[in-house]
Symmetry: C2
Subunit: 265 residues, 2 copies
């Protein structure tokens, strides 16, 4: 056995990182930090390929990346690899949840069938304490029914140019939104957490944050659900709502067709 | 109107504090930090009386405290008071969830009818990232059914000396445990969070953390539920399990008889 491809499932708090890739000079990226841990452990340089690049401040509870490792004649299990990488990452807010050997034709990005993002919004007057940097804090009470109605308007196959960052590099603005649920988690001493759960094969840059920012306008009564439809049809970023902050966004899970990721060791 | 008693409902992350009261020289306590915010806002010294003192590293999502404020001829609402205090606490991990004017005979500690504590345990191999300092991380898989059976043995009126810190100052070791539920929150990419929810009128020092530490021995198969009963009957701290770390513990809610806390303004 020479070259082995590994699939890593990764959790991180994005707050102190320059995104998955290096976006800010002098601030380490999540990718750099994990690649360094691999190099420190295996004494070889490697390149991580990720399922979904996340921006600075965005978190992940189920990011996926793959890389190739030449471990010579020795054998290593996924358990040993994840344990070793976590030891090297112990001062980082990055944790390897799982390391799985996969076949050489597996690709973390190209083979992903869809991705689940969660957006956490703390809806109460008082500021967050232990959830600081982990939620978007919105003080005013929001109309949940109106927001849910607005969310319905975004489901399906559309030109999402209205919800696309100016710097987005995707070739096409067409995307298919399979899910945009809004759940409530009541808090014991007043207020509530609002969770947006969205699934799609892929997203445009800032699409989730722009959709959330727009739906909050609906929750505040500044927009109607019909305004969401009009904005979508305009195919114009200037007609959309503001971009929600990165703090509340989590790449929660990346899904693959079973046969591609099945364990081969 | 001269002197007004106020009931504060408070959230905090205990990680960087020396407990509710000052326990460690040079590290501020939660109490000091809030008293300073009140002084900075009102230009008068005051003394906070708390429902339940928490140790260093222990958090609260619903701590309650009261204090008296002489605001002269001016009037202030609970909304204005909590907003002002939160502004003064903006660099702290402390948040005033609610400020409510109460009658002069209300006492945060003596009138509390029962308290709900939550203990969060992250049960997976990989270390926590954004939950660092907010959960107890236990790597090995735990037997939930055995833990639930063990928890049942602790319900009711008992001498809890086995689960009492050596330095506990309570006059009697007798306490009545009304609830000790164990809930599971599955995590999307493997592992789970185990939540202990316990209610009682009052607790001995370290009682919740000592009960959780003991039940984890049961979950690991080192103890049986019968061993929990034997330990309880021994009325001897040396017969109990280890003290779980403070990181996972939250004072979630303090309950009062309605007539005592009803708003009077």
């Amino acid at each position: 056995m020479s070259l082995q491809r590994w699939k890593l499932t990764i959790e991180y708090q994005g707050t102190d990182y320059s995104g998955w890739q290096c976006q800010i000079e002098g601030i380490p990226s999540v990718q750099q930090s994990i690649e360094k841990a691999i190099t420190d452990f295996c004494q070889q340089n490697c390149r991580l390929h990720v399922a979904g690049r996340t921006d600075a401040g965005v978190h992940a509870s189920g990011q996926v990346a793959h890389f190739d490792l030449d471990y010579g004649e020795r054998e290593i299990t996924g358990f040993q690899l994840s344990k070793a990488l976590n030891a090297h990452l112990r001062f980082q807010k990055i944790s390897i949840l799982n390391a799985q050997p996969v076949s050489q034709d597996f690709h973390a990005r190209y083979h992903a069938s869809h991705k689940l993002y969660t957006y956490r919004l703390l809806n109460r007057f008082a500021p967050p304490t232990y959830d600081h940097s982990l939620v978007w804090h919105v003080r005013n009470d929001l109309d949940l029914d109106a927001m849910k109605a607005g969310a319905q308007r975004l489901l399906g196959h559309h030109d999402f140019s209205t919800f696309r960052a100016i710097k987005c590099q995707a070739k096409s603005p067409m995307r298919t939104l399979d899910r945009l649920d809004i759940d409530i988690v009541p808090l014991s001493c007043g207020g509530r957490e609002i969770r947006f759960l969205t699934e799609a094969r892929s997203y445009l840059h800032h699409q989730v944050r722009n959709m959330v920012g727009t739906l909050v306008l609906v929750g505040q009564g500044k927009w109607t659900p019909d305004d969401v439809s009009c904005a979508l049809k305009a195919c114009d970023r200037t007609q959309g709502g503001p971009t929600a902050p990165p703090d509340g966004l989590y790449l929660s899970q990346v899904f693959y067709a079973d046969q591609i990721t099945k364990e081969i060791l």
